[in-house]
């Protein structure tokens, strides 16, 4: 797929995502029933949870691309992983912002030491180091492999985060959607959640593609520089 095409798809996805975003905000504010125990704040849920899931999706992509990159050594995959990682980082940050907002009202505290919260924070740190490692070596190929390894290992945390609320006694609510016996939500809540989910996913994909194309352009630039430094050979002197 040519860069131009990539950028166009990215833009279309972005617009679609924004439309959905408007839609689900409308739903959030005018449609869904207010949740009984927590009241209005509960509506953060429609940003909070989808953001988390999209982040998971993103890091899943990172792990996948990284693994295949290590296997095939295909530079594009590394670029893809990087792009996805940045998306995931953003959405994790959103979770880490909306969570406390909610918590302040639902639990009366911004933050508490509680498995899911902590693990999420640590997830954020792992991908911080993912970006650090990239910049920190003498030769590019190496840092990309390092990053890939970090990306893969980091993703191992995700299932742990999901399960954490089940394993440990914890404040954080149990799964209400992704659970053995199907979703336990008011249908309006559910489809609002799904709209939000869709919107975030589209936005993420748009971001992902844009970053990817930027990375690719960077590679092109390098190639051009190289071409200038080493023009294709002329006639070489013979002995």
């Amino acid at each position: 797929m040519s860069l131009r095409m990539i950028r166009w798809t990215a833009l279309t996805l972005a617009t679609a995502g924004l439309v959905l975003a408007v839609l689900f905000h409308w739903q959030v504010f005018f449609r869904v029933p207010t949740e009984a125990s927590m009241g209005l704040v509960q509506r953060i849920f429609y940003i909070h949870a989808p953001a988390a899931w999209v982040a998971f999706l993103a890091f899943g992509i990172v792990a996948l691309c990284s693994a295949v990159y290590l296997w095939l050594g295909e530079a594009r995959l590394d670029r893809a992983a990087l792009a996805a990682a940045e998306g995931g980082f953003v959405f994790t940050t959103i979770v880490l912002l909306t969570g406390p907002l909610w918590g302040k009202i639902a639990w009366g505290t911004w933050w508490t030491w509680e498995p899911r919260l902590t693990l999420t924070l640590l997830l954020w740190f792992i991908y911080l180091s993912y970006f650090l490692v990239r910049g920190a070596t003498e030769n590019p190929g190496r840092s990309q492999r390092f990053a890939a390894v970090v990306g893969i290992v980091g993703a191992l945390n995700i299932p742990l985060i999901h399960i954490s609320v089940l394993w440990f006694r914890s404040l954080h609510p149990q799964p209400v959607v992704v659970r053995a016996d199907g979703p336990s939500l008011h249908p309006d809540m559910l489809n609002t959640l799904l709209t939000a989910m869709g919107s975030f996913t589209l936005l993420f994909l748009a971001l992902f593609l844009l970053r990817y194309s930027v990375e690719r352009m960077g590679d092109r630039a390098d190639a051009l520089v190289r071409e200038q430094l080493h023009p294709t050979p002329g006639p070489t002197p013979r002995a």
């Binding site: 190929g141 390098d222 190289r226 080493h230 050979p233 070489t236 002197p237 002995a239």
Partner: protein, 239 residues
């Protein structure tokens, strides 16, 4: 029937970021050959040797060892290659003998003890074999590094400026050893800045410049001045 060449490289390229250190090098090396590589500082000699010895992954191009393609870290090839680089690969806190023993084990050398003793004797370090490398003079370190390189009788010997720091006597020994290796159905490729010494040892000479292997010529076809003239022509003429 003709055997495939010991080592064959096609279209080797190695980039460091935007910088192309080795640009499209083709090279074949046959048993019984000793190739001397010359070139100005930064020409890409060391990088090329690292590519050929499989300690660096080429950006493009392929390598064949006895006709079979290989990638860095292929044990079948590694077992038959001996490498001397700018750094000694030795452990400063271990004694000369411990260093050789260690590497000998990793190469699965049989009859290790007396092999080690023999090599130490070839490089004239018996007297110091139980001293820590940290206490060695530069030339002694270089000698030990050479012993390490030749320890497992590699079929392909790759040497980057092997005469560095060696005194007259040691240099003479080395020349003798290399000639033996060559005449023993094995091959040597070495880099040096000493044109004359290189020419006298080599069966073939090559000159690199700006990442390209510009010329190759049989050593006997050149006398001292001839080689120097060739070198200057290659280096001056911007290819």
């Amino acid at each position: 029937m003709t055997l495939p060449p010991l080592l064959e490289a096609r279209g080797l390229v190695r980039d460091f970021g935007p910088h192309r250190a080795v640009a499209d090098v083709d090279l074949t090396l046959d048993v019984g050959e000793l190739m001397a590589l010359f070139g100005p500082n930064g020409a890409g000699k060391s990088t090329l040797l690292r590519l050929l010895s499989g300690s660096l992954r080429p950006t493009e191009g392929e390598l064949h060892f006895r006709g079979v393609p290989f990638m860095p870290g292929d044990p079948r090839v590694a077992r038959q290659v001996g490498v001397l680089s700018h750094r000694s690969f030795l452990y400063r806190h271990l004694t000369a003998r411990e260093n050789l023993r260690f590497y000998g084990r990793l190469y699965g050398v049989v009859g290790l003890e007396e092999r080690v003793a023999r090599r130490l004797e070839t490089v004239g370090l018996q007297a110091r074999m139980d001293h820590r490398v940290a206490t060695f003079s530069r030339g002694m370190v270089q000698r030990l590094a050479l012993a390490r390189t030749l320890l497992h009788d590699p079929a392909l010997v790759v040497l980057d400026e092997p005469f560095t720091g060696l005194d007259l006597d040691a240099a003479l020994r080395l020349s003798r050893v290399l000639t033996e290796v060559r005449s023993d159905q094995r091959a040597v490729i070495l880099v040096t800045h000493d044109l004359q010494r290189g020419r006298e040892l080599a069966t073939r000479v090559g000159v690199m410049s700006r990442g390209r292997l510009e010329v190759q010529a049989p050593a006997h076809s050149l006398d001292g001045p001839g080689l120097e003239a060739l070198y200057r022509r290659v280096v001056e003429v911007p290819s």
